[in-house]
Subunit: 342 residues, 2 copies
């Protein structure tokens, strides 16, 4: 590895690398003892809103594991807070004043929300300084659909009844809401890039609840707008969703230099459907609870399915689960490098 680790950024561009780059969604989190120790003293919002702490958490996995990228520690819902909604964690996120009508939407402070997240940009600057060239820093935001879902439902939802009702029965309202959310999202990501983020990932974790038609009509144009705005900064963009296999081609057509796929598809099938666009994934996060023997075989299988193609970033199909043995995460990262070394 050269002094500056460029594997990840090169792979985002589809360029050749000495080994397949690897990082893990939610690599900074509860499965790590160092993180749990900090969480005993601070709430999630305290960690996210204090640049020195956000920096410390971001660096924990980079110091402990042979990962090829760092990802900013922040909560996906921070923009919801500055948009004017009352966000709490007890322990899951809940919004006591969800968005349900025209008036609720009119009240959202989309003009100032991104500027209100200065502590995030401060964290990005600090992390870049601390990282040196050890690993590039990925910024991120929730995609408009996932953020708007939280805003409308007021928290996680089993069936997204309220948000789908707004989408179907009041498409005019939904459109207004999405335009506000997308504006904040794009500005939030651009400011992260200005502060030093070297790539950004747009997380659409809840998109898999939609029909292709709902995605196409009510979501895609807004994700596309964000991705094209952020592309102007010149840094690579990653678009990630779970449950996208029914409309993967359209999901990819919304933009993003790299498409993140979940574990529900073979990587070779994904690469074929995506016409060899760079891809990120796709180990089943639950497999990290299995033996190293099982893990080695699973890593081997994913790498074999990618074959000799460039443009593969190894990751999970979703975030690391609480309780995951950190040694297994370490093992997988090492395995990826060992088995893919060219």
């Amino acid at each position: 590895m050269s002094r500056e680790n460029t594997r990840f950024l090169r792979a985002c561009r589809g360029l050749s690398t000495d080994a397949t780059p690897v990082w893990f969604m939610r690599q900074a989190g509860r499965y790590m003892e160092e993180y749990r120790a900090l969480r005993k003293k601070h709430s999630i919002l305290e960690l996210a809103k204090t640049p020195a702490l956000a920096c410390e958490v971001t660096l924990q996995p980079v110091n402990r594991l042979p990962v090829d990228a760092a990802i900013l520690f922040a909560d996906i819902l921070l923009p919801v807070d500055t948009l004017g909604l009352k966000l709490r964690f007890n322990p899951g996120p809940s919004i006591s004043n969800p968005v349900r009508n025209e008036r609720d939407i009119a009240r959202l402070s989309d003009g100032t929300a991104a500027a209100g997240l200065g502590y995030v940009y401060d964290a990005v600057r600090l992390i870049r300084r601390e990282l040196g060239g050890k690993a590039p820093l990925i910024g991120f935001a929730g995609a408009p659909y996932t953020i708007a879902s939280y805003m409308v439902e007021g928290g996680p939802s089993d069936h997204y009844k309220v948000v789908k009702a707004m989408m179907s029965d009041r498409p005019d309202l939904w459109d207004k809401l999405m335009r506000k959310v997308r504006r904040v999202t794009a500005e939030y990501l651009k400011r992260q890039v200005e502060a030093g983020a070297q790539a950004v990932q747009l997380f659409d974790s809840w998109i898999g609840a939609l029909t292709p038609e709902q995605y196409r009509r009510h979501v895609k144009p807004h994700s596309q707008w964000v991705l094209s705005e952020v592309a102007k900064t010149g840094v690579p963009t990653i678009t990630f969703g779970t449950g996208t296999n029914g409309f993967l081609e359209e999901f990819a057509a919304a933009g993003g230099d790299v498409v993140g796929v979940d574990w529900r598809i073979d990587l070779d099938a994904a690469r074929k459907r995506l016409r060899n666009k760079p891809v990120q994934g796709n180990l089943d996060p639950v497999l990290l609870f299995s033996s190293t023997k099982v893990l080695r075989a699973a890593v081997k299988d994913i790498l074999a399915r990618n074959g000799k193609r460039t443009g593969h970033i190894f990751n999970l199909g979703h975030g690391i689960l609480p309780g995951t043995p950190v040694e297994h995460v370490d093992y997988v990262a090492s395995c990826v490098h060992e088995l893919s070394a060219r």
Copy 2:
């Protein structure tokens, strides 16, 4: 409509029909006032274990809605009970003695479990008599993976950690368990057919948690065995799963005359991937909470995506949700007939 409604059974065989047949997964259930009234007096297990009550519940939607098939009312977990596990509903299903090791598996009474479900076969006989020719009766069972998951996890699970660990780390144990479960499942379905079920559906509701490789190695052979055993009875078989879009072709290759798809794929894309094998689906169950205007457009879209092809059974992409307005279910069924009339 002729005196005997044959739309559904003809469509299962890919034959032409005067209109597209329609039924709804969980069409007998909590969204219906008549059902809620019965549930005030009886537990789910009482309803399922008393043929007269199971018959009454099965007929409720057939009497209320213009559906083209009845589906047996029974709980998916009944065989778990006769296999020797302690099943309770409070209100969700839970098993106090889940299967975790060799001894637990050895103890399962797979030789007698299907015979122990006599009340189901009695219900089938009674329902057939009561239905006359009004609508054909569909029998059903949980697919081996979904049933075994409940048995190992002890109830619904977020991530299927225990079951995936057994699959990956003790494939020998998993295989033993699946062989016992598949034997009971096949015999259970065959006995339903002997009692009068005119088609059967295998529900693999949890299959979408798997990677294609987990499905292919640890699940597919067992589903395939059940479907081929039941095919010997001569009645059409429907194989249904949600979250199968990453490996739909392989899911279909396991068997079934009809493949049920969820709402996460366009019906035309599904038919293409399934090479025009008969298909069942795929309205988003959440849309039933929207206006009739929205519903009409959604039905029209699905029918248009099917085009002039035979072999389409209209259904939801998953079961009817509690709280769904019964008038909307009624409206959709009528719409399907009206808009597809040839």
